[in-house]
Symmetry: C2
Subunit: 160 residues, 2 copies
């Protein structure tokens, strides 16, 4: 077995999950695994439509499941396998979870071919001046500064 | 009342929620509302630490709650109010939900002052070559192309 054997087997497992998700559910064509070593600690498939949850991308589902079953918020040292390059939501979710590395098979262009605006979303991130939805508009609030001072003054604040 | 009156009142409501979240829970200093007209359809506060869910940012919590209570995946026509500029995860979540507009008070620099890597995350999106975690690495899979063909061949595929 070559050095990539176990990794390839994990990606193939994710690919099979995505195919099953297309065939057996109303979910999207994506699957993901959270892995440590060769051990899968959580699986996720896209469940946006079946669960009415626009955030239920495979990667987010897998990350949430891993943290729930491990009882912790940090997945530092864990690896994410995804059948497709994570969209900005999922890549940022992996970052917040402390995941070091993401392996993916299909590209954002493949996702676009399947009808999903992944490449478009990366453009939205890199060109905030472009006419994309949603449009972030700052609405200064006289009170909002108190959030910063209250947070920084709280010795019990839990960081993540 | 000036034209911004109702909008300012909604932002102030979110600010009060964030302050309460700091004082009364182990959650982060962020809150968000999903709004139509002047009606709040869902609220969210950061619950990452209390729920062991790294995706439980205020905006994601509010979006998930809105979709669950409305029983639909699309929030087209709804507006998101957030006490802070959404991080890439939350901005992309708003995009996937079909939200047209996001009002925010504090900036990503304010978030950085509070200890959160929001500005850093935007850099990660705009400069994929930079040494940021997580590192997305493509692992081509011979089987993965079947996901694309199977998806496109499925007449019942549900888009969102």
């Amino acid at each position: 077995m070559n050095a990539n054997g176990p990794q390839s087997a994990l990606m193939e497992q994710a690919v099979r999950m995505a195919l099953t998700n297309i065939r057996d559910t109303a979910g999207g064509p994506f699957a993901a695994l959270v892995v440590t070593g060769a051990q899968v600690v959580a699986e996720g498939v896209n469940a946006v439509v079946p669960t009415n949850d626009p955030t239920a991308h495979a990667e987010v589902v897998a990350i949430r499941s891993a943290c729930a079953s491990l009882g912790k918020v940090s997945l530092k040292g864990y690896v994410l396998y995804s059948t497709c390059r994570p969209c900005p939501m999922c890549l940022a979710a992996a970052h917040w979870a402390g995941i070091d590395r993401v392996y993916y098979a299909l590209t954002s262009d493949d996702a676009e071919r399947m009808g999903f605006q992944d490449a478009h979303l990366y453009e939205m991130m890199t060109d905030p001046g472009a006419a994309h939805s949603p449009i972030p508009v700052q609405m200064p609030s006289p009170q909002a500064g108190e959030i910063v001072t209250t947070w920084l003054a709280n010795p019990d604040r839990a960081m993540y």
